[in-house]
């Protein structure tokens, strides 16, 4: 449900179509199969690309013999790292991407690409892969984040010295960086506490679980120009990265984003796309590469696994006096900022006088980690919110009241540094407290939990183009990939500004040749930033139409105003002038100055931070440890909801992913360092029958830095579920769960440990 009455009038603007729920413009194509995804396009002479991957967690590549594969009939190109020379200086993020796309001297994880072929069909490509002989020297490996920190752990990347530590380390380690945030004096704060709770938590690695695997069709000609059709969240970013790695001119590589079957952060990075382009360049033919599900698990970018120590102190009357977090996040074999993000977000919901968070970014022999919605925040929230519940319980306050008492407000200094402006955590908590869900009765073996979450949200570089056809219909071209309904939202915004109907707008995602650079659709930025650019582009087109009307009426343009899709002459002198509709002005456009268009190029900063509070009920079978979520409610501050149904969909989708993450999903590695469950049979994401209806409540607390008050909405609701479900399960079974996922074996183990502990106490 949507609560549209809260503070939406800050601009004194009454919306006519924004906030309505029209049909999705891409809906029919998607349900009838007309929509074209990453694997759904073809080119004359197209080859099939396939990638040979390391079966070892860590190995030196002594040699690669491709001679037999090259001689196989039907093979048109074989590629190794020699075909992808280092053009980026041998260090830094782009070099890490290059190494991840194709291993050089060492395979760094099970699934790391070591060679690739392009052949006339898939069978030939697979045969060719088997003919490639790689001589490996197996090296010691480490896949666990805590094991990797130990002094004698195998070194994943020789030369790694922990950054931001004084004095600088003199020995290699797997700790890539330390980062610290906070303010006040935590030691003094803990002295003021009546109750201090300290606990260690662990979360396992999960995958975003998008249904569409990575897929692309690459074509590079001998003149150095190329095209890439790809499933991605950011085709402009892919163009820049691929061009950089392959030495192509950015303007000569045209990248087109296909429909996307889910991304959630996993499609913000390139994986095999540079390899496909490299194969095409070598074969001089188009090459299509489609990852198998196993490859998606082994060789794309899951989220980090973590361990953490959380400590919170509070007075008996419920005031938090100090809080600390020591967070260990693994990023795979390359340095990342995953721990840093955990440290920045962990206590962002609260007004803390003394807070300190320390992040350690750790290297392990697992795939290169990628973002997964609000990256890194859910894991830190699991530890912090679980500990918040323990403190609340210790002082005898309800979890909601404890959080409300300590919630951040306008003027609060955030734990990551800046002072908040108007923010919405308190309203989400008030909505939770007053929600009927919180007082609904629970049955046997059932438990309830609630938790809060925070995410920053971002805008970024954005370009938009709006063209009015001679029949008055409108082509709106945006450059942010539509991952969650932005075509519908942009159409609503354009319709609102122009004063025409939603059905008269056709919104397209432009390829990289058609607009200026657009940053990747990440950070919940799509509707915020393209919405802003669409508003300004429409207003520019309106200015053109006012000029055309003024020209016809032979009056100054200042005396023409735009209202309800028509140009109106203003003032008593013009009362005899009949308003000109957009359609009339558009029809006359060939003879009044040519095409009518509006454009906008902007950097859309100030997306506005966002908060969510969730409630969850579960039922746990004490014999099997199986957990079923029986009721779930999401409350989130969304700013102005342009298309509320899509906003609800974002809330529900994030909650569903969080339920899978909390209860079942995890990467399971064997002692050999190989991933043991690289498929949906063994890596269990929730299906419809696993989920209750996820109720939603949209709080429209406007973002003062957007013309309509829009905030990002796509990420924040992935943050609370681990903790909300963790508390619900803990309340159901009577044992505080501290390890995600809370799978049946872990719940049974926790119950068994508790029983043993109680037995020991009674015996002693």
């Amino acid at each position: 449900m949507s609560d549209n009455n809260q503070n939406t009038n800050f601009t004194n603007q009454e919306f006519k179509v924004v906030g309505s729920r029209p049909e999705r413009p891409d809906g029919i194509d998607k349900v009838t199969g007309r929509a074209l995804y990453g694997a759904d396009t073809y080119a004359p002479g197209q080859l099939v690309g396939a990638i040979l991957r390391s079966p070892h967690a860590h190995a030196k590549i002594k040699s690669i013999d491709t001679s037999k594969a090259e001689k196989l009939k039907g093979v048109k190109a074989v590629l190794t790292s020699k075909d992808l020379p280092d053009l980026v200086g041998g260090a830094g993020p782009n070099y890490d991407i290059l190494v991840n796309c194709m291993a050089r001297d060492r395979a760094l994880y099970d699934g790391h690409a070591v060679a690739a072929v392009a052949a006339i069909d898939e069978n030939t490509a697979r045969k060719a892969l088997k003919l490639i002989k790689v001589d490996y020297k197996i090296l010691p490996h480490v896949t666990d984040v805590d094991e990797a920190r130990k002094p004698n752990a195998p070194i994943v990347q020789p030369g790694t010295r922990t950054a931001n530590v004084e004095p600088a380390p003199t020995k290699d380690s797997n700790i890539a960086a330390r980062n610290q945030f906070g303010h006040g004096d935590v030691d003094e704060g803990f002295k003021q506490a009546d109750v201090i709770i300290e606990k260690t938590y662990k979360t396992e690695q999960t995958h975003q679980g998008y249904i569409e695997p990575h897929a692309c069709l690459a074509s590079v000609g001998p003149d150095g120009s190329g095209e890439l059709w790809v499933t991605t969240q950011g085709h402009y970013t892919f163009r820049t990265v691929c061009s950089t790695l392959l030495g192509l001119d950015i303007a000569k590589l045209k990248v087109t984003s296909s429909e996307i079957g889910g991304g959630f952060g996993g499609k913000t990075h390139v994986w095999m796309e540079p390899v496909a382009l490299g194969l095409s360049r070598k074969a001089n033919r188009p090459v299509k590469v489609v990852m198998s599900r196993e490859e998606v698990f082994r060789a794309s970018g899951p989220t980090a696994s973590t361990s953490m120590d959380i400590k919170i102190g509070a007075t008996r009357d419920g005031r938090i006096t100090a809080a600390t977090a020591d967070l260990r996040y693994q990023g795979g074999p390359f340095p990342g900022m995953w721990g840093l993000l955990g440290a920045m977000t962990s206590f962002a919901c609260y007004n803390l006088p003394n807070v300190k968070t320390v992040a350690w970014d750790i290297l392990v022999n697992r795939p290169k980690v990628a973002a997964y919605r609000a990256p890194s925040a859910p894991m830190a929230a699991f530890g912090v919110e679980s500990t918040m519940d323990l403190v609340a319980d210790a002082i005898g306050m309800s979890p909601v009241d404890f959080r409300m008492l300590n919630a951040a407000r306008e003027g609060t200094r955030a734990s990551y540094g800046p002072t908040y402006g108007p923010i919405g955590i308190l309203p989400t908590l008030e909505a939770v407290k007053n929600h009927p869900h919180m007082t609904a009765p629970l049955g046997p073996n059932q438990g309830r939990g609630m938790a809060c979450g925070f995410w920053f949200n971002f805008g970024g570089q954005t370009a938009t183009d709006l063209n009015i056809s001679t029949d008055g219909t409108v082509n709106l071209t945006i450059g942010t990939v539509d991952v969650g309904g932005s075509r519908a939202s942009m159409s609503l915004i354009a319709a609102e500004e122009l004063g025409i109907s939603y059905d008269e707008i056709k919104c397209n995602i432009g390829d990289t040749n058609s607009l200026g650079h657009n940053d990747t659709t990440e950070g919940s930025r799509g509707t915020f930033s393209s919405g802003m650019a669409t508003i300004f582009a429409a207003r520019q087109a309106i200015d053109v139409m006012r000029e055309r009307a003024a020209q016809k009426w032979e009056i100054p343009v200042e005396e023409v105003e735009w209202k309800d899709g028509e140009a109106h002459a203003v003032g008593v002198h013009h009362s005899n002038l009949i308003p000109l509709s957009l359609k009339e002005i558009a029809k006359a456009s060939p003879r009044t100055g040519g095409p009518i268009a509006g454009h906008n190029e902007t950097v859309a900063d100030n997306a506005g931070v966002s908060f969510a509070s969730h409630i969850c009920d579960v039922e746990v079978d004490p014999e099997t440890g199986s957990t079923r979520v029986i009721r779930y409610t999401v409350v989130q501050d969304a700013g102005k909801a342009i298309h509320p149904q899509y906003v609800e969909g974002q809330f529900q989708g994030a909650a569903a992913q969080g339920i899978g993450w909390a209860l079942n999903e995890e990467y399971i590695y064997g002692e050999d360092g190989r991933l043991q469950n690289a498929g949906f049979l063994d890596y269990r994401i929730p299906v419809c029958s696993d989920l209750p209806f996820i109720d939603t409540k949209i709080l429209e607390i406007p973002n003062p830095d957007h013309p309509y008050g829009v905030r990002g909405v796509g990420e924040t609701s992935i943050v609370p579920p681990l903790a909300a479900i963790g508390s619900a399960v803990s309340n159901a079974v009577g044992v505080r769960m501290d390890h995600v996922p809370m799978s049946p074996p872990r719940i049974r183990a926790a119950l068994k440990a508790q029983a043993a502990s109680e037995k020991a106490v009674s015996a002693g």
């Binding site: 980062n179 610290q180 913000t268 002072t419 971002f458 950070g523």
Partner: protein, 81 residues
């Protein structure tokens, strides 16, 4: 203008101090003067920095004016998912 505040890697790059005073009217001027005094900050800018002005986070808008008496905080440029 008040002090510019730091945390994390930026704080390390400016000699492990929590804040320093810089006269600047835009983000660009602020970063230029900061690099002049602390050259190690340049690599962090290259990797990505964001500037919070009165709680509003700017990742790319280097022409953004910094009002007198604003709270200015340098922080990592955060990616999303």
């Amino acid at each position: 203008m008040p002090d510019i505040q730091f945390s994390g890697a930026v704080r390390q790059a400016v000699g492990d101090v929590a804040s320093i005073h810089i006269e600047a009217t835009t983000i660009r001027e602020l970063l230029r003067k900061l690099v002049e005094r602390h050259p190690r900050v340049q690599s962090l800018i290259d990797e990505g920095l964001a500037v919070s002005i009165n709680g509003h986070i700017y990742r790319d808008g280097w022409t953004t004016p910094i009002p007198p008496d604003a709270e200015v905080f340098l922080m990592p440029r955060v990616p999303g998912g």
